[in-house]
């Protein structure tokens, strides 16, 4: 039996339906948290001193934009950390594993169901931020926000950071025995790539195009092979019996 996108789709649709009915996920994770993370940098834009030097202005804008990159890092981390251990705790994992589904299909279905809402929310929040900057910020601030490198970092790194958080979160979830621990570790594990992006946003690492592309390529490779690495950690026997074999 080969890789089946039908089975991937079954997991994907089930997950999206489950998110829609889960008020906590819908209200807190997918609405409240992103709104906080877009409100803070938007307010910051209006507090930037117009007498600041170009470098200081760029740093402040970079800091504001960094908040927006927290969305694709943190949001999937919490969702993916729940994905396996949460099903196990609810008793819904075993019935799924009893079907012909392969672990790769299960993991890809889970990952896509987290990636899609993450990107929709991350880009929507970025759009709100850009609209706020274009309409209400001082032209000097607005032009700093719309600088090409800032846009590139946001558009490029949102899916890549999300990919990292998803695979690390699922890996932790596949090995953890408690949802809360998995979510704490998942959020913690989403920090390293975010820290590098932060250093770029704050100009500690000069955010040149080659540096950004290099980092993006590295994340792409990690994301691309993430499902294989996580598949290897996905042990049906351990997940069903709660035993370390």
């Amino acid at each position: 039996m080969s890789f089946s996108w039908t089975r991937v789709g079954a997991i994907f649709h089930k997950e999206l339906r489950d998110y829609r009915r889960n008020r906590f996920v819908l209200i807190f994770t997918m609405a409240f948290l992103p709104l906080v993370l877009v409100t803070v940098p938007t307010i910051q834009l209006f507090t930037i001193s117009l007498s600041a030097t170009n470098k200081a202005l760029d740093t402040r804008v970079g800091l504001s934009l960094l908040y927006l990159l927290v969305i694709p890092a943190i949001l999937p981390a919490t969702l993916s950390a729940y994905s396996v251990v949460g099903e196990r705790e609810q008793g819904t994992l075993e019935p799924v594993l009893i079907t012909p589904i392969r672990r790769e299909e299960f993991l890809v279905g889970k990952a896509l169901a987290i990636l899609l809402p993450t990107l929709v929310i991350a880009y929507a929040m970025f759009g709100i931020f850009l609209a706020g900057a274009a309409l209400f910020a001082h032209p000097a601030v607005s032009s700093a926000v719309f600088e090409r490198s800032h846009l590139l970092v946001q558009l490029l790194f949102a899916p890549l950071l999300a990919g990292w958080s998803i695979w690390v979160g699922i890996a932790i979830s596949a090995r953890a025995s408690d949802v809360r621990v998995a979510q704490q570790l998942g959020v913690f594990a989403s920090v390293p790539p975010l820290a590098i992006v932060a250093l770029m946003s704050l100009n500690v690492i000069t955010p040149s195009l080659p540096v950004a592309l290099g980092l993006a390529a590295a994340l792409l490779v990690v994301d691309g092979f993430g499902w294989r690495a996580v598949s290897a950690m996905f042990d049906r026997e351990r997940l069903v019996t709660s035993r370390h074999t």
Binding site: H13, L97, T99
Partner: protein, 337 residues
């Protein structure tokens, strides 16, 4: 149970259990010296049996006997430590897991439903996992089979435990499995809900579905199963419930008369078919007989001839539970030694 040609034969009616595709060659389940250990702990050891197509096979044993582990092993969730098996005609190996899982269904002890999703949405998800092309039709058929068509749009979280168990059963029927494993299907259900599940299983049996039922409800096994196996880490007994009862307990008649007999030996000892007798209480006697139906009239005549007032003559009924308890006693005794 398997003849020289490998045909799986029914023991009492002379019929043959065929595979769903009409093949006579292979049983639905062949388990050969299967063992599973978790480190030093033995879950089950050296278990061998066969189950024919269309058979309802009961697997009995106390908690921790290895029943669920066997189901999970045959369902390819756990790898056996040693031994071999064929499930729905497919050899049990790491590579054949998805193939086997496509041909079977397992209903775990807890149905494990997505509680925020409706009944239909739960089944749609699993129809996708089985890649069923006619999923709407299959879902409707499965819901009809468990009498839940009118609850299709209810969230599973709003259903009672018994109804959730029925949804679990509907989910297990979706892929029209060659072998249906039911792991403690009535565990935790009240008598009414358990009775409903029994009726559903009886209905599946009539439709010729091969069922592997693990339970520690002995009356459930006695009522539903063609054959039963009793497991306590190792396989202790296997056979039809009636055969097991006869194997463990002699057939007896309980005789009660109004006043104790003056000379009971004179009444019972010479009767044809009576192999032995003993006095249970005053006016109550237990007769070991070859065939209660043929012996009972002679006993009645002898008692009347001896001037006794007969209160009752009944065949002693030993249940599967008696067999089970006898075996568990033997195991406990062996442990003490």
């Amino acid at each position: 149970m398997t003849d020289e040609d490998g045909v799986v034969a029914s023991d009492d009616d002379g019929g043959v259990h065929l595979s769903p595709d009409g093949e006579r060659a292979t049983p639905a389940l062949v388990v050969d010296h299967l063992t599973k250990r978790f480190g030093d702990r033995v879950a089950f050891d050296d278990v061998s049996f066969e189950v024919g197509y269309g058979e309802v096979f009961g697997f009995l044993g106390p908690n921790g006997a290895g029943k669920t582990t066997i189901v999970r092993t045959l369902g390819t969730l756990l790898a056996p430590t040693s031994g071999s098996a064929k499930v729905a005609g497919i050899p049990l190996t790491a590579a054949t897991g998805p193939q086997i899982r496509a041909r079977i269904s397992i209903m775990p002890e807890l149905p494990g439903l997505y509680l925020r999703l409706t009944v239909a949405e739960n089944l749609e998800c699993f129809a996708g996992l089985y890649e069923l092309h006619d999923s709407h039709e299959r879902i409707a058929t499965a819901l009809r089979a468990v009498n839940l068509s009118d609850r299709a749009n209810d969230p599973c979280g709003a259903l009672s435990k018994g109804l959730r168990q029925r949804v679990g059963l509907a989910r297990a029927l979706l892929n029209d499995p060659a072998v249906l494993f039911l792991d403690e299907p009535t565990s935790g259900l009240d008598p009414v809900a358990a009775h409903e599940v029994h009726d559903l299983i009886a209905g599946l049996r009539e439709r010729g579905v091969t069922i592997f039922l693990t339970t520690h409800r002995l009356e459930e096994a006695e009522r539903l199963c063609d054959r039963v196996a009793i497991l306590n880490t190792t396989l202790r007994q296997i056979g039809r419930p009636k055969e097991l009862r006869e194997q463990f307990f002699k057939r007896t008649l309980d005789v009660r008369v109004r006043a104790p007999l003056g000379e009971p030996a004179g009444v019972f000892a010479q009767l044809p078919g009576v192999e032995g007798w003993e006095q249970a209480t005053s006016g109550a006697y237990v007769l070991t007989v070859s065939d209660p139906d043929t012996v009972a009239p002679g006993v009645a005549r002898a008692l009347v001839g001896a001037g006794a007032d007969i209160l009752s003559i009944v065949e002693s009924r030993h249940s599967l539970e008696d067999v089970y308890l006898e075996l568990m006693d033997e195991d406990a005794e062996a442990m003490r030694r």
